[in-house]
Symmetry: C2
Subunit: 447 residues, 2 copies
Amino acid sequence: MKKIVLRDDEMPKVWYNVAPDIPGGLLPPLDPQTLKPISPEKLGAIFPQGLLEQEMSTERFIPIPEEVQEIYRIWRPSPLVRANKLEEALGVKAKIYFKNESVSPVGSHKPNSAVAQAWFNKREGVKRLTTETGAGQWGSALCFATSKFGMQCKVYMVRVSYDQKPYRKFMMQTYGGQVVASPSMDTKVGRDILARTPDTPGSLGMAVSEALEEALDREDTNYALGSVLNHVALHQTIIGLEAKKQMELAGDFPDVIIGCCGGGSNFAGLACPFVPDYLEGKKIRFLGCEPASCPSLTNGKLAYDAGDVAMLTPLLYMYTLGHTFVPPGFHAGGLRYHGMAPVISALTREGIVEPVALQQLECFEAGLLFARTEGIIPAPESTHAIRGAIIEALRDPKEPKTILFNLSGTGVIDLPSYDKYLQGELQDYEYPQEDIAKSLASLPKIP
Amino acid sequence: MKKIVLRDDEMPKVWYNVAPDIPGGLLPPLDPQTLKPISPEKLGAIFPQGLLEQEMSTERFIPIPEEVQEIYRIWRPSPLVRANKLEEALGVKAKIYFKNESVSPVGSHKPNSAVAQAWFNKREGVKRLTTETGAGQWGSALCFATSKFGMQCKVYMVRVSYDQKPYRKFMMQTYGGQVVASPSMDTKVGRDILARTPDTPGSLGMAVSEALEEALDREDTNYALGSVLNHVALHQTIIGLEAKKQMELAGDFPDVIIGCCGGGSNFAGLACPFVPDYLEGKKIRFLGCEPASCPSLTNGKLAYDAGDVAMLTPLLYMYTLGHTFVPPGFHAGGLRYHGMAPVISALTREGIVEPVALQQLECFEAGLLFARTEGIIPAPESTHAIRGAIIEALRDPKEPKTILFNLSGTGVIDLPSYDKYLQGELQDYEYPQEDIAKSLASLPKIP
């Protein structure tokens, strides 16, 4: 047996909300101006009611609307795969399974939330969404989703990616999206930044600020975020809910669950549905693998912080490197974020999630081995999960474990990074100690 | 119902060989030097016995080796999808189904044959394969396949693609393949061409000659071809065999079966398993959609011709534009071939396959509509099948048909072509009348 598939009618019809099951619970988001819990009205200017309810919900299970299920079925349920060839190459008795989220039309797990966010906005009459994107995975997913519901989408794409990585820009446009390089002249934030630093390569934090400003300014437009928030993690739990059914069909259960961590959504999606099993006494280790050069879980501080440079977002209680932190330019663009999803942060605080920091080269090495054994070229982000799985598989030959990791995306659009790795042009990065100390000093002071 | 999937154990365990069912049969390949039927010994210098047996076989069903099945299961069985959203957008009552071959790790149907060819070579002790590739779909598939079996692979890639389309080159290298720009200094053919025309952009015909020369010269090396030949079409029939099972699960049967046609392998793969139904009296139309600017089926001649410029390949009896024909540089690189698979040629001769010539712009328009409705960005090649399906869906509103087409590949690596289309930079091509007349005059004269 190699691959466990579910039929369309076996796809889960609810998402799982981990919030009520987190020991110690979650702290509420704060208003960046008053530093008090933010009012629903203020959040309502950028998010629809349906998503706000999910953001705050204490229900364990939340139904997936039929229209969202219908779009999910374009690629879902996604396969669960036993990585026999990788096991053979490693010479281990450990069993390695992966959930293959790379099969979506845009090549990653991101549409799990993009489709849901687009639908809940559309239901409340919103015709237009703005968002930011770095390398472009999230922007592609949102343009895919809005095209399905006849909505418009405007994406602020970090300038350096806009110029250097045109494929995802083309993908967004093919789905009918509007893409502008950020910082842009379309917003006050953007114009101010360009006036000060006309040659800036941009950053995710700047692009968030621009997308938010436009959503706040325009009546017909809402904002959508691709990770970090509770409702995003919620939508991603379809990954883990499917995986549980599939592991059962395989007659197995994971000892170790692994995902790469940028904002935390793909890891939360796979891991959270197994948290109740952990709380009932099952021995499961949850490993969040992050890049050593952007180590929010392993070297950040658990504190209230903003999600963007201009501090327009609500303040979230999370592990953060500080919202002014600019990570070095490593190739897993989707992991270049200063903060971590509050649900993953809380699970880490409780000792349920173990964070692991990995270097770029060891991850590409793992990705190449995976491509040549299992045949699928993983996204640079996903190679962090693969490296984590390999470390665990090799750990204790006397007690081989059952490992489950999330293959969050394909690396097909990132092939130039593999080329650089093969040419020996990539390097590891020093731990950015001074930058982190500096940006942590800029954390908002909560009374 | 949206998507019909089969579980791993429902994957067909045999391929279907259409040769014995073709009315009028097939003519044997000829030796390009003697112009007589080629000897098995001569073919044995480049192909393994197992594949030669398939090439000549009169058995209807040929078992798929277990090792090949195991690799197929990385992505197979592939989904059959009801294109509801496309139907809605067209406002038709016709039912449109597509077989989604874009889900393979390299993004096309090509590995169906690459895996089989690599395995049969390996079984006979061959450690190394050479091949040619244009835009790179076939080369990627063969590097993927050889990496699975621990074999080496050298790909002669047409220089203009090597320089301008690096992503597939990177993909081949990521799978461990060796890629050289063709013409190269590695072969006599290549050196001769470079001496005469140092600035040549190369062509598929030149690359075939180089790959063949190296396979003929080296004891440890065989040659692999990605389309046209009977055994390639045979391996692709897993597409149609799965689709038959899936249409049955959907409670439907196709009135019209459609594929794009370059060398003919993906169309043969979908269509051939339905030929016995046609011969038993079922009313099925088989439409082969080719580019109007490389119209071998609609404007070529049914004759013996070579597969390459240097006339090193066996002569095949096929619809051809002449082996010296150089098609204009349109964006569906996989359809830029002068000849057509003998099995598709024979089915066309018998009036079973109806050829359709389509223009580039109408195909990209169809591809864009498909991306925005069904959510999957199709390969430029596959847009020809989509355009064909749309024409059939709109044909007769009073008698809506059930249409089945092959989505042979994803367009993710071809996104720059979509960008050019969206920017209005693409054009249709005139029918290349003079070029075709000239190249047809160079057909080998068979006594």
